[in-house]
């Protein structure tokens, strides 16, 4: 496939926690780039630093050293153009769908939230418009709007709730969707549904970039274009999905492949 423009880059990113004896390098000299329209899988076990790296790439945490750019703009502090652009053009999907949806809000209200924040509660872009967009997004992830819009999270299964979260991420038409272990808190059947939802999004919106974070190579094989394997804070392998899955170089990658094979 043809590679789009570079959307997000991280150069020499390092994150150190604590000092003295407790000093711990969570992310060590990581270079990473995401093109628009690309799906990048960030793979690593627990403690590999993948979530730390994600927070830095999204501008939510400040790295000890290193530079992040988004859409050509430097991400540095809350006032930088890159940070503002990230807030505007990126969306997050969290690991546990039930803690990422407010239990006291209906699906509709949760989904409308990003636009309400963006446009102010009583914007001219009135409720009709938001209404239409929620319906569109829900249908895209394979949920019937008529059935789900007025439900509360307590009435959803894990897979349904996570797809609602994915649909919410679509509401702002982001250039980048980041999904942090979106499938590890739900059962296999639900995992497949979420995977299908992500694939549908990529098909409907080919310009949208997706970063999927996971500990499991198996779940990302169908959607990832590129794979970056993180181990103990370092990138041990990166390349096209095909190369990494079929011709792994690092020992750790081979272990991951073995663990994900039947």
């Amino acid at each position: 496939m043809t590679e789009g423009q570079i959307l997000l880059t991280g150069r020499g990113i390092q994150q150190v926690f604590g000092k003295g004896r407790g000093r711990q390098i969570a992310v060590d000299e990581v270079n990473i780039e995401v093109h628009s329209g690309q799906c990048l899988a960030l793979i690593g076990g627990s403690g590999s630093g993948k979530s730390t790296l994600m927070r830095i790439l999204l501008g939510l945490d400040k790295p000890t050293s290193g530079v992040v750019t988004f859409d050509g703009e430097l991400v540095e502090g809350r006032r930088s153009a890159g940070y503002q652009a990230l807030r505007r053009d990126s969306s997050l999907v969290f690991q546990n769908p039930f803690t990422s949806l407010d239990p006291r809000w209906t699906v509709f209200r949760s989904m409308a939230e990003p636009l309400n924040i963006r446009l102010g509660r009583h914007s001219r872009k009135n409720s009709l418009d938001i209404d239409r967009k929620t319906r569109e997004s829900l249908s895209l992830v394979g949920l019937d709007p008529a059935e789900f819009l007025e439900r509360y999270p307590a009435d959803l299964s894990g897979g349904q709730a996570q797809r609602v979260a994915v649909a919410r991420a679509l509401m702002t038409d982001p250039k980048l969707i980041v999904a942090d272990e979106p499938m590890s808190a739900v059962d296999v059947v639900a995992r497949l549904q979420i995977l299908e939802a992500l694939a549908a999004i990529r098909q409907a919106r080919p310009e949208t970039s997706v970063i999927v974070i996971s500990h499991d190579l198996g779940v990302v094989q169908r959607i990832a274009d590129r794979i970056v394997v993180l181990h103990e804070g370092k990138v041990v392998e990166s390349g096209s999905a095909n190369d990494v899955l079929n011709r792994p170089k690092a020992v750790y990658t081979r272990e991951l492949i073995a663990a994900a094979s039947l």
């Binding site: 926690f17 604590g18 407790g22 969570a26 979530s51 730390t52």
Partner: protein
């Protein structure tokens, strides 16, 4: 260790703040204290003499620092009304109040823990709602009324059974141990039952939550019965919470203690404080309030330390950054 030091510094800081608050509260007293004390038609010279005796003619900063200086040296000042040192006055009152609090606490813990655990362990719905009702009503009884009921039931003279003294404390204090103890039984029961009821509610909800946790499943899977798991594992796991609750109970009990002291005519801190306040004995009230506050802040300090010590998750918490 660092936690202990930090918490101790906080304790000292809180002491300082509360001393300033008490000091300030007594200075903005409406009605000039010396004139009140001297009486209605006292000559101005007498008022002025009282004023200088109380040290009220000095600048505020000097008054405050000499008060604190005295406190640090164990000198709490001299009561102008009785002419006795406040330190010994308070000590005498404490010898009534502290045993009362401790007895009340024992009653409360005995009732609260036992019934709380039983309420969790019982499977009979009737018993369950019985405990529920007990907790509700027990915690809603005003101390004054509770004391009154006990007097009506057991008080010597007026009571139906008339077995226990309901008024006063022996002049000789703890030298006549049996009478002294007997006169504390009804007051201690009053505050103990009321606090016990709320402790029972806490125990029931805290232990009830733990019983639904994986820790109990694991303990039972190792071979404990449900009962044993509740007693050996569940109670231990609720301990940090319960210690906090008992610590707070100290604070909530003191209102009841003061009330029953007055009701049962016990010469304790509560009765003393109310008398001194009525007499506008400024110096005495100031020192007594401060000592009470210091006592409760210290209890709070101890409870926090104990809480920390009882929960290894707090001691050894690995910093998680997943």
């Amino acid at each position: 260790m660092r936690f202990i030091v930090r918490r101790f510094l906080l304790f000292v800081a809180a002491l300082f703040v509360i001393s300033v608050v008490i000091f300030a509260a007594l200075r903005i007293l409406p009605g000039d204290a010396p004139s009140v004390m001297a009486g209605l038609n006292a000559p101005p010279e007498r008022v002025a003499m009282l004023r200088s005796q109380m040290g009220l003619d000095r600048p505020l900063a000097v008054q405050y620092s000499s008060w604190i200086d005295g406190l640090l040296h164990g000198d709490f000042g001299i009561s102008l009304l009785t002419g006795r040192p406040i330190g010994s006055m308070v000590a005498a009152r404490c010898s009534v109040t502290f045993p009362l609090i401790v007895l009340g606490l024992i009653v409360a813990i005995a009732i609260g823990l036992t019934f709380g655990v039983m309420a969790v362990l019982t499977t009979r719905p009737a018993l369950r709602s019985g405990f529920h009702l007990l907790g509700l009503i027990g915690g809603a009884i005003p101390a004054l009324w509770g004391g009154l009921l006990l007097i009506l039931l057991f008080g010597r003279g007026t009571g139906l059974l008339g077995v226990l003294p309901s008024q006063g404390f022996p002049e000789t204090g703890w030298d006549s141990f049996r009478t002294a103890f007997a006169s504390l039984v009804l007051p201690a029961l009053t505050v103990g039952v009321i606090s016990g009821a709320s402790l029972m509610r806490y125990t029931r909800s805290a232990l009830g939550d733990i019983m639904h946790s994986g820790y109990i499943d694991q303990a039972m899977a190792c071979g404990y019965t449900r009962r044993a798991a509740a007693l050996k594992v569940g109670l231990r796991l609720t301990m940090p919470q319960l210690v906090s609750v008992v610590g707070l109970m100290f604070a909530s009990m003191i209102t009841g203690v003061m009330v029953v002291e007055n009701l049962f005519a016990l010469p304790g801190i509560g009765t003393g404080l109310v008398t001194d306040l009525g007499n506008r004995d400024l110096i005495a009230v100031q020192s007594e309030l401060f000592m009470l506050a210091a006592f409760f802040l210290f209890i709070g300090f101890l409870v926090d330390l104990l809480h920390r010590f009882l929960d290894p998750r707090l001691r050894y918490a690995v910093q998680e950054r997943a």
